[in-house]
Structure formats: structure tokens, C-alpha cells
């Protein structure tokens, strides 16, 4: 037991000694994005309580283990907080919150995908991170435009939200099926 602890301590020392700045920044980005998503998604009463410590720990965990299932769990926790706030606490679905949660969860997800393949001690060309961030920015921008249009549309069609959601959901489900089918035909 003591041997294992010493081994882990030595490993941690080696990691700290060898870590380079860009992989460190990417992992910090993962932690910041998920922490932000948690803060925006969960109800204010939870955010200001001591429960936030647990949420913060959960948000930071993927930065240390970006290859594990922690990222998926954190995403589900953030979405769960959002559903809890809008159903149990009956909070209003504000455009800025939807935009912020979508942006922050996706940013955390894509940065975790980068951190998963980027060794902590790698010497990284800056253009790798910049182009990665650029692509993520484009996806976020596209979805933001979609969010603004769709949320505007649903407010115009007051009371018809269920129908619109059903239609959009079905269309997206078909699109997702097509995407999966294409992946199966990968080389």
C-alpha cells in the first residue's frame, strides 16, 4: 500500500516536472468549460450552496482523465442540472443560458477529445491547438445561429413547442441514424 502511494507520488512528481504548457492549457480549458457549464446549468440555489464543491470536483475531474468516461458523466450531469432547473425549479428557458450551456459543454467535450490524444509532456505546434479551437468555434457558431432562430421560432409559435420539438427531434434522429450508417462504412 505504502509502496503504491510512493509510486503514485513519484509519478505525480514526474508529470509535474515534464508537463508542457500547451497540453496543460488544453486541460485547463476542459476544466474551465465544464465548470462554467455546471455553473450555468444548475439552479442558482445549488450553485451557491456547498453542493457546488461536488459539482466543481466533477467538472475538474475530466481535465485529469480526459480519456475516461468522466467526460460523458460530466456532460450528463450538466444536462441533468439544466433539466432539473427548468422542470423542478421551473426556471425560464433563457436564450443566453441555452447558448452558454451548448457552447461550454461542446467546448469541454472537444477539448477533452484533444487532451485525450495529446500527451501531457508533448511539444506541441501552436497551429494544432489553434486549428482545433477554430473548428470548435465554427461548430459553436453554427449551433448558436440555429439556437437563436429556433428559439425565436418557438416563441412565435407560442404553445406549439411540443410539435416543433417533435419534428426537429425526429429529423435529427434520422440524421443521426444516417451518420451512424456512414460510420459503419468507414474504410
Amino acid at each position: 500500500m505504502a509502496g503504491k502511494i510512493t509510486q503514485r507520488a513519484n509519478r505525480a512528481r514526474t508529470v509535474i516536472k515534464r508537463a508542457t504548457i500547451l497540453p496543460l492549457l488544453v486541460r485547463a480549458g476542459v476544466a474551465v468549460a465544464f465548470f462554467g457549464a455546471m455553473t450555468v446549468a444548475w439552479p442558482v440555489s445549488v450553485v451557491v450552496s456547498c453542493w457546488m464543491v461536488l459539482l466543481a470536483v466533477a467538472a475538474i475531474y475530466p481535465a485529469f482523465a480526459p480519456r475516461g468516461r468522466g467526460v460523458t458523466i460530466v456532460l450528463i450531469i450538466a444536462v441533468g442540472g439544466w433539466i432539473l432547473d427548468t422542470t423542478w425549479y421551473d426556471a425560464r428557458i433563457a436564450l443566453w443560458r441555452v447558448l452558454a450551456i451548448a457552447t461550454l459543454t461542446y467546448a469541454g467535450h472537444t477539448l477533452a477529445a484533444l487532451a485525450a490524444v495529446l500527451p501531457y509532456d508533448a511539444i506541441v505546434n501552436a497551429d494544432v491547438v489553434l486549428s482545433w479551437a477554430g473548428r470548435a468555434g465554427l461548430a459553436v457558431l453554427g449551433s448558436a445561429v440555429l439556437t437563436v432562430i429556433v428559439l425565436g421560432l418557438t416563441s412565435d409559435l407560442a404553445g406549439g413547442a411540443f410539435l416543433v420539438a417533435t419534428l426537429v427531434g425526429l429529423a435529427a434522429a434520422v440524421g443521426l441514424t444516417l451518420l451512424l450508417a456512414r460510420l459503419l462504412r468507414r474504410p
Binding site: 467526460v71 439544466w82 477529445a113 490524444v117 461548430a139 420539438a165 435529427a172 468507414r186
Partner: protein, 454 residues
Amino acid sequence: MSATDSPTLRAAVPPTEAVADDGWAQPAWVPTRALGRTVLITGLLLVLGVALGRVDLVLLAAPFAIGAAVALRRMPRFAPELSIEADEEHIVEGGNVRAGLTVANPDVITYDLVVVRARTSPWLELEDADRPHAIKVAPDGWTAVDLSGRATRWGRQDVGPAAARVAACGGLLACRPVVIPAQGVRVYPETEPFAATEAMPAAAGLVGNHRSRRPGEGGELAGVRPFAPGDRLRRIDWRVSLRTRDLHVASTLSDRDAEVLLLLDVLGEAGESGGVKGKASVLDTTVRAAAAIAEHYLQRGDRVSLAEYGSSARRLRPATGRRQYLTVLEWLLDVRADTGEPNSEHVFGAHNVSSDALVVVLTPLVDPRAADMLAGLVQSGRYTVAVDTLPHDAAPPPSGPWTSLATQLWRMERENVLGRLREHGVPVVDWAGAGSLDLVLRDVARLASAPRGR
């Protein structure tokens, strides 16, 4: 680091994954956990959106779906091509080495991230070679990673094996690691300055640079004697002839070449190797001294041959000239401590040595078989000089309270062996660069000039 250990290479490169033995090759590109996460989150949000009638949940899934759709619009088909470029010029230890890794992208999409890493020999101080390098490679293009540095020890030093792992489509697809074998860099030993001014004990050939003890055609003046039939006219010493009123010729000693056999004792390795400017192990001293002695005698026009005293019993035939010097250096790169069975037969014996050759045995005199071999050579009448290559601070690693005492006993026993060898007429000298062998060569030459009545 002890030179006896195998070079410790950083375990940075994943092992080559074996192709499935049923003949089905694994696909080069595989989905990552990020792709699974994208599909899961998107599907979950869509299902919840549909079930709860919530547009906002569908919109939360939008960046995941858009990002995946944009990233996967074109799929990679080919694995990356990785290559190692290593210096092929003559590098002497302490010199600069240029090496590099090149990743080529034969595909039509950009490789968003290529993590390339290489193991390198611990005796190559290459800049950032112990770290992975993350680069981006454009479609149909290539990117190189420079690994220049310095070679700190002689030998065949490896750059590689190297491995590259590629992530494409925004990290949703990854390539299985591409691993390529190592490329060797030849690092020649630094020859310590060496000069032996003493005569060779026995010069054998017809031409060469050593003055022999026999009169003949040469440059060294032996004396003046009366003219005799057969003498060349250009040998007439006119000044003496005029004074004595009789023809006299200047007689010279003939110039001869000699054969030098460098016998390298590789039965064991001891001491710590610290590279070119650090401590020298037995093999370091052996190889550097052999290179220096060979260079010296080859420059003087002698024939030099090399042999290993060990289970492999490698030999290099005697030859002369610069080409032989380069061959000697190349041959020395493969000198390794003998890891064979202790009872293996050594094919080397006095019968392998020319009777006129000067045998320089580079030995740490740790193995009793080496002392026996030396005594055998001297008994068979070979001109033998032993160079002690054991470092002064060589000692076994401490393994208990008795280690130091045991080391002292071992050193006393070794001194005893050295003394007995000297009694048998084997001169043993420490290697100290220039002039190391002068004193003993003079003694050996004196012995050689004496009649060999046996």
C-alpha cells in the same frame, strides 16, 4: 549508467500490435471515445427533447451533431507514412548528430494531430527526443521533426524505433500506431593521442618505415664501409672516398614494416561509462586505445590486425593504409562485452598469431582465462604487451557489509596475478595515451634482439 546494462530506452513507443492471426487485418482507423460520446450525448438529448417536448434540449445537442457532421464529411483512408532520417556521415563521439522524423500524409484530409515519438540511444543527446511531438500534417504533404544533438559515446547508436499516432476528423477517428524500426548512427571512437617512438621488436616485410637491425636499402645510416661489387654507385660516400683514396659506400639499415595484432579482451565489462568526457569503462578504454594504436601504426605503414578474445572470436585480417583504418573503426563499433557461456571454447590461440607480430593485448585482467592466454602467448615466443584497461575506481556494486572487504581481497589477488605475469615476462602497462607503450616496447625490442634459443 553502467555500460554493462543494456541501454535503458524510454518506454515511450507502444509495442507493435500484431495483425490478427486469422488473416483479417485490423482497420487502420478506429473511432475514438470522443465519437462514442458525441453519438451518446446527441442521441440522449434528442430522445429527451422528443420525449419531454423540449426544443432547448435538441439545441443543446446541436453543436455535437454539427461538429460531428462537419468533421466526418470526409473520412481518412490511408495510414500515415513515418520515416527516420539519421546522419550517415562520419561522426566521432562528442560530435554533432543530425536526425529527424518525417510524417507524410498520403490522404485527402488533414491530419489534425499527429503524435510522433521515438526511442533513442541514451548515448545520443538529441534535443527533446525523449518527448512526444504533436504536429499537424496537411493533405498530400509532410512535416518533419528535427532531433539534432550530440553523440556522447562510440558505437552503433539507435534513433528509433519511432511511432506515430494520428487523430483526424476533430479527434473522432484515430489511427492505430504506426511503428517503424530504428536507424543506426555510427559513432566512431575518439582516438586518444598516441605515439610510440620505439622500434618495433620484429619487422617482417620488405618495405616499411621501421629501421631494422639488418643492413639494406633504407634511410637510416648504419655506417661507412669499403665499396664491394654489387653496391649502387649512388651509395658512394665521396667525402670519405676522397679522404681515404679508396671507394667507400654509406651503408643503411633496411626499412621494414611490421604486423601489429591488437587483441581485445571482451570477456567482461567493468566500470561506469560516462561518455566521451566522462569516466571510461573497460570497453571504452579498450576501444579508444585500440583505435589510437591502430591509427598510429597504420600511419607508419604497418599492417594492423584485430581480434576479440571472447566466445565470438571476431577477427580482422591484417592490412595497411587508410582503408584499413576505416575498417578498424567500423570493426570496433561492434565490440560488445561477451555474454556467452563461461565455458565456451575460445578459438584464439598462439597459433593464430604470426611469429613476428607485435601482440598488444588490451585486457582488464579480470578473467583468469585472459592471464592464461597472455602467459601462453609469451611462452610461445610472441612479442606481447598487455595494456591494463581496468579503471582505477572499478568495484562491484555494494551488496552487503562484506562487499568492500571482498573487493580489497579481489584487488590483492589481481595484483598477485599481475606480478606473476611480469615474472613470466609479460609487460603490463596502464593505458595513458601518448607514450604509453614506449617503455615496454623498448624492453620487448631488447628481448627481440637477443638470440631466441629455445
